[in-house]
Amino acid sequence: MGQFGRYYFNWDILRDTLPELLKAVVVVVELLVFGLFFAFILGLLISLMRISRVRIIRWLAAIYVDFFRGLPLLLLLTFIYYGLALVGLQTGLRFLILPPIPAAVVALSLCYAAYSAEIFRAGIESIHRGQMEAARSLGMTYGQAMRFVILPQAIKIVIPPLTNELIAMIKDTALASVITTPEILFRAREIMGVRANPTPLTAAAIIYLVFTIPLIRVAARLEKKKGSPGTPAGM
């Protein structure tokens, strides 16, 4: 290993760094839990708007999706953290000044809501039209039919692509380091600076991979076995 080991796999530094970074994992989990929660709620809402019979509502949803899919997440993070705060400081509108973690959650949610909306829409549209008709013919309202018949089936179909979203979001939390969120990459860079050695980056990579690789395997497996959407779980 020699030189390479000393710089990138420095055992002493690795040993010191890992416990520090594990604390940062808590921050990442926080970002993921809140980010996914809001992204899925908002995404579901937008997907339902996207298939609305009212044209204006469909358009609004389409504009949202295009806007946030077309925007770099890094720009969004920077705007929500620095851009809003700058105006907040100058105008005294203090609610515009967000701490790093809430700012990151807002940016991640807005961006991932757009992606999830497309996934949910594809899921809903993949359910045969006859399901909606059968539900309506039994006297269910559109909302009841969605809730009890269409969405439970659509959810099963969208689990594999949503798992991929989760993987992408885990990696994208690293972007929050630019707005001083004390997440894994941010802490790794701090320690790298103090120790003048890049081994903390190796430690960060190990932690990310520990989370992402199992999920990548799970996603691949789910995708492979998504045969008939009608098969109930556990069969």
Binding site: Q153, P232, M235
Partner: protein
């Protein structure tokens, strides 16, 4: 007493340029079993779907037991509870068990207690001969069994009338009879039925009126046995010649 269940007055329906229904007049009284035949594209399935508002119409009126469903003030969901419908492709809910398929709407729409809905559901499954399948999922059943569940599901809402849209067309020949038998029982029990089908035997046995549709109009109607034996219109003769 003669009670009018379904009334269609000059119903017109078109999909863009394509005219599907060209002025349909129809009156169905309680207990009638109306069998509708006709070539594909004649508008018979569309007419059925218009009756419970699954398809909007462009002109005319559809009145269900005195309620005009084409009136925007009418709550179509309420009316649909009184009209059972069975589809060619069954459309059972694949994520729910057979019994749950039958009890879902009574619980969610009518607000029935779970226990009560379950009891009614189980009775209906006995009636269609599937009591032992209550806990199965739809995809574990044969087509004929699925269609019988679909009939039970529609009956669970205790509808005043039933619509059958080519319900045996997707079935293997040996499974057709089990579905038709359930329908015959219903007909003999006094259910008001509108049946789109090619099963002439069913029309002869339990139909109270036979109706031949072509190009969006009712070409000929009458007593099923008489009409099958001696059709008056040229188009009816030609069609019956092909299906019999």
């Amino acid at each position: 007493m003669r009670r009018v269940m379904i009334q269609l007055e000059q119903v017109h329906k078109h999909f863009g340029q394509l005219k599907v229904l060209n002025g349909i007049d129809l009156e169905v009284t309680k207990g009638e079993v109306i069998v509708i035949i006709g070539p594909s594209g004649s508008g018979k399935s569309t007419m059925l779907r218009c009756v419970n508002g699954l398809e909007p119409i462009q002109k005319g009126r559809i009145i269900i037991e005195g309620d005009d469903i084409t009136d925007p003030k009418t709550d179509q969901n309420k009316i649909r509870q009184r009209i059972g419908m069975v589809f060619q492709s069954f459309n059972l809910f694949p994520h729910r068990t057979v019994l749950d398929n039958v009890t879902l709407a009574p619980i969610k729409v009518q607000g029935k207690k779970k226990a009560e809905a379950k009891q009614i559901g189980e009775e209906l499954l006995v009636r269609v001969g599937l009591a032992d399948k209550a806990k199965d999922y739809p995809d574990q059943l044969s087509g004929g069994q699925q269609q019988r569940v679909a009939i039970a599901r529609a009956l669970a809402m205790q509808p005043d009338m039933m619509l059958f849209d080519e319900v045996t067309s997707a079935l293997d020949p040996e499974l057709v009879a089990e579905v038709l038998n359930v329908m015959k029982d219903l007909a003999l029990g006094g259910m008001t039925m509108l049946v789109v089908t090619h099963e002439m035997g069913f029309a002869r046995e339990v139909g109270t009126r036979l109706m031949f549709m072509d190009e969006g109009v009712i070409v000929e109607e009458g007593d099923p046995r008489k009409m099958i034996a001696d059709p008056q219109e040229e188009r009816t003769k030609k069609f019956l010649g092909m299906v019999l």
